[in-house]
Symmetry: C2
Subunit: 716 residues, 2 copies
Amino acid sequence: MLPSLLALLLLPSPLLGTPAHADEGMWLPEQLRDHAERLDELGLQLPLDQLSDPEQAPLGAIVSLGFCSASFVSPDGLIATNHHCVAGYLQQLSSAEENRAREGYLAPSRDQELSAGPGARLWIVEEISDVTDQVVGKLPKRLSDKQREARIDRAEKEIVAACEATPDTRCRVATMYSGLEYKLLRHKELRDVRVVYAPHERVGDYGGEIDNWMWPRHSGDFSLLRAYVAPDGQSADYSPDNVPYRPPHWLPIDPTGAQDGELVMVAGFPGRTSRYARAESLRFARDVEYPDSIEVADQSLAILRDEAGKSDEAAARLAAPIGWIENGRKYRQGMLDNFRRSRVVERVEAREQALRDWIAADRVRTRIYGPVLDELHARHEERSQRWAQDVLHGRLLSYVDLLGVADTAVRLATERQKPDLERDAGYQQRDEDRIAARFARMDKSLWLPADRRVLAMLLARHAALPADQRIPALDAFVAAHGGADATVDLLFQAPALADAAARQALLETDLAGLKASQDPWIQLALALEAWDAPRRDEADERAGAGLRLGPQYMQALLGSRPGAVYPDADSTLRVTFGQVKGYQPRDGVWHLPHTTVAGVVEKAGDDPFDAPDKVLAAAARSPQSRWADPDLGDVPVDFLATLDTTGGNSGSATINAKGELVGLIFDGNYEAMSADWLFDDDLTRSIHVDVRYILWMLDDVEGAPAKWILDELLGE
Amino acid sequence: MLPSLLALLLLPSPLLGTPAHADEGMWLPEQLRDHAERLDELGLQLPLDQLSDPEQAPLGAIVSLGFCSASFVSPDGLIATNHHCVAGYLQQLSSAEENRAREGYLAPSRDQELSAGPGARLWIVEEISDVTDQVVGKLPKRLSDKQREARIDRAEKEIVAACEATPDTRCRVATMYSGLEYKLLRHKELRDVRVVYAPHERVGDYGGEIDNWMWPRHSGDFSLLRAYVAPDGQSADYSPDNVPYRPPHWLPIDPTGAQDGELVMVAGFPGRTSRYARAESLRFARDVEYPDSIEVADQSLAILRDEAGKSDEAAARLAAPIGWIENGRKYRQGMLDNFRRSRVVERVEAREQALRDWIAADRVRTRIYGPVLDELHARHEERSQRWAQDVLHGRLLSYVDLLGVADTAVRLATERQKPDLERDAGYQQRDEDRIAARFARMDKSLWLPADRRVLAMLLARHAALPADQRIPALDAFVAAHGGADATVDLLFQAPALADAAARQALLETDLAGLKASQDPWIQLALALEAWDAPRRDEADERAGAGLRLGPQYMQALLGSRPGAVYPDADSTLRVTFGQVKGYQPRDGVWHLPHTTVAGVVEKAGDDPFDAPDKVLAAAARSPQSRWADPDLGDVPVDFLATLDTTGGNSGSATINAKGELVGLIFDGNYEAMSADWLFDDDLTRSIHVDVRYILWMLDDVEGAPAKWILDELLGE
């Protein structure tokens, strides 16, 4: 039944030509065919069959870095992505002598491109196929929720395992429309990724956290990488003998950029949206989750900033986490501002009322979907009750590095006792390299004085929770060690896990060995795991309920709405199309769609607006540059478009009507932060670095040493 | 020679059709005739002869409140001006029971309009005539600077006295083009001014100091007054028997407002500009005067805010001075920002270089103007030396109320020993009523605890000056009274002048009586006056030099420049024309030319954005209002235009191509604060309240009780 309903939903509907939100939609490539009329109207110059095929250009040139999107931009495997997507690589490539995270890096020649590190990966989409039938087609009608979850989980793992039997292949089953549909994504994995060019931090992240999410923006958030393979063309770890990968498809550049009103498209891997979320989830986010996150962010920032002020080393190690927390805080505050200003909850409530009216209008619908809504509400209430301890547990593991290490080791040792296919996701054989790499990297970021105070803060927050919302295992551990202060003292008294070798050794230790350990971090992790393991079992059961209720809810929701629909973002390849366009952020103000180099000079001053001298020097002549836009009278820096994007889209190629690269998306705008919940046609904009700024940086700012890269980009 | 040169300068030049700065110019009414082509192009629908005649409509409807501009808007003497222009009246009309400064006032009927107080004045321009020949035409060639100043001063006073021989007439000789031309302005003076309608403070001053100078703006900065006369039509003090004045001209309203791009004009009394100032004056302002003012403002604000926090009464009395100081501080900071961003000094330097080149290109010019430039430079240097003690002396008299009172009494008693015509300006018989009114008003604003700390702060600043820049009389007074602390203690120990009756009595005391007084304030004022009087004599000499050099400098400056020129603003009637138009405040942003009621709601929140409930209630229906703009889809609030205006223009009528009222100007924009020095076509905008917001407030917000006023405005 499900596939046929879905086929119906995906058929072109009479409303397609004039959808309410013209530019909303993170479309699966195949769905682009449903938008022929609108794409034609916007000026598409590519055959739709070509555009909608991930195995042809332009989509065939789109790749994933795991956490970011990217694209091939030369036949020799040159890759364009965001500066902020390679910041981690640059951090690893920095030393006291050469601060590449700050100064950037320009390879003088191809043989001096720098390895992005053993953990760097590039995934090239090779095939997207429907596996709905294999995952849920043969499920018996009567299954407990736990059984359902286990069966689906097993089916997915089997499909992934079979897929990954091919060497250098990474596969994933994506759940779409809350489980109405499942897709298998097969990727070729390359393991030798090198840094070709990264601009100075105050180009790539000009304006820092102050300008983050903001318009007008003047960030040159781009970098260039290159993929390498063994001389025989196979995927290989880094080796000086490797040769540039020759991608089957790559994007040519349009050095005239994109004009106001022009059709642009973004292809990439958007991470996660909640466009079909229920109003009570939004209300809970607004009233509980975001305010709580903001409070914890403020407490953490106070600690980290204080510690960062104590030494240069502390400042260097804490810069990144401070940035992340500031970013997250701004995001959540922006959400709350958006929720209020754009009446997001109220609009979702109205949509939900329409759904309830649609259900109530029909006896059969009422009988089928009424109980679904009731159960979803009951499960929401249950989750709300559990939420405080869940979120605190999560923060302990992610904010306190050594507890995260100990917990990972305990989980991995536990899962290793099972056959690989039965292990929990994230703890399978395929994940072990990644975990080891994470443990190794920690040497560059760990800062115990800050972690210590953050742990004390989290323990205080835990102690302040009502008794029935606390974690009994944590209460017991703290009590057994003489209270919170003594517990913190004990944990941070010369912790063994601060040493990288000790962390790696931990990964080799089996569960019995861990249980015998006297290390208090291991003991705390074991205690928390003993509490959490049965909860995860319950979570499996809840997940099973979700897999039962989700498709029914989506079925009702989609049935009640006219027009084409797209699945929520899930890090699978999507395409969004729209126009270069400004917006009205508030009464009396219009945000113009382009910024220019003149604006870089206008903003120049104190950190984070301390633009490099060579940029300011070149800016004095930018109106005369060959990359200047004739209408703007200057070199464009960033531009706005009406595209529907989210985190994970970072680094995605922005292409024009002919499939040529005109920019790279790197952000969304503050006024539409809530777009992950609800797209707002008037306010939602994507922010892109203009390809002409990239060319200007290489040509007018970097000059002769970058000529070989500029020539490669221009195909000269 | 001068008049003929001037006639030449004022002739239409070939460049007039395409001046570099299309909308720069605070034109004398008669000069409008030189802009026929441009006004025609912009769509003027009035005969130029009518528009340029101050004795016909629309200019005949323009009046002055002394410190603000205003205009008649009904045949029954109804007057429109800014809310901030009547704030002083509302303060006087407020009591503990009725806070009209906060709540505003709506007269239920014509007989309940409230007297704006005995000091309120309305000046109606009756004639503007050229008196250059009378002032400087018969001056002997050889005169000392002091003689020149005295002769010109005497001539001006004689002209004013003759003019004011007519009852209820106020006259003034305005010096234009630094003394190239003199104009006599004759005004009819009305003395019974009443408040008809003032909106709530959070309409009239919505956004307070935060939004001051800013765009987007949502201030309903308007109020309505009415002029009254005796039943026989003569000017009269307030009396219940008086009747509404029937002005010969008044402005009809265009309830469709002004659209983007439409021709608008402002007629009013701009106060002061320095468009022909020399670069070293700008540099001195930028490097010395503004930074010093900002520092004193910060010190004063710290004191006043602290005192205001101590009691409700202190807060009420200090609210106005805190507002003025904040305003002045923001103005000066804005100047500094503007100077830097718009490279104001550099541009004036370039213009000055062009002048020097023009002079150097000709032997005769070099011989005549070379020494003028040299002497102006020497006089600037001399002024720079004197500046610190001058400004400190001025601050003592204006910031410390009781010292200002004592000084005024001493000055007045001194001047009264001379024939009226020889008295210093500001201390003639004609000024005595105004002085008495000021002394009386002080009862509502005087707050000794703040004055005391401000005096101590100023004495400390004085003590910190280099010895040769200090005021010897002040040093001596402080030393004689045991130092700064003891002096302040003595002055503020139950000061007699805190009593209104004592202040009035002081005005009746002759100089001998003052010299015999034991009051330390009088003694201090006498000491300062003994120091200042000979300096004023020197100042007269310097003024004479200015009257000799100024015309020569202007002659050179105007000779070196093509195109029409206008005199600096000097509170005489001027007209500026241009278009409704937005602007680009910075890269990537466009300020739209209109704001709407939706923006009032967007901003609504904490003080100063605490919009009254009745406004927010009406705002819910504003898109459906009959005053809504069809294109904007809402009622407009404020709009931007390219007009050339400055302080004193506040309340000026904004009129359309047909001479109808479409708004009231009330502010300039932050990005062009330096327009008083240099007009910037791209950035300089005037900010106006839209007539449709006025109509909406009366109709949709105030409703039935305001219908009689709405009907009068609409001529219904």
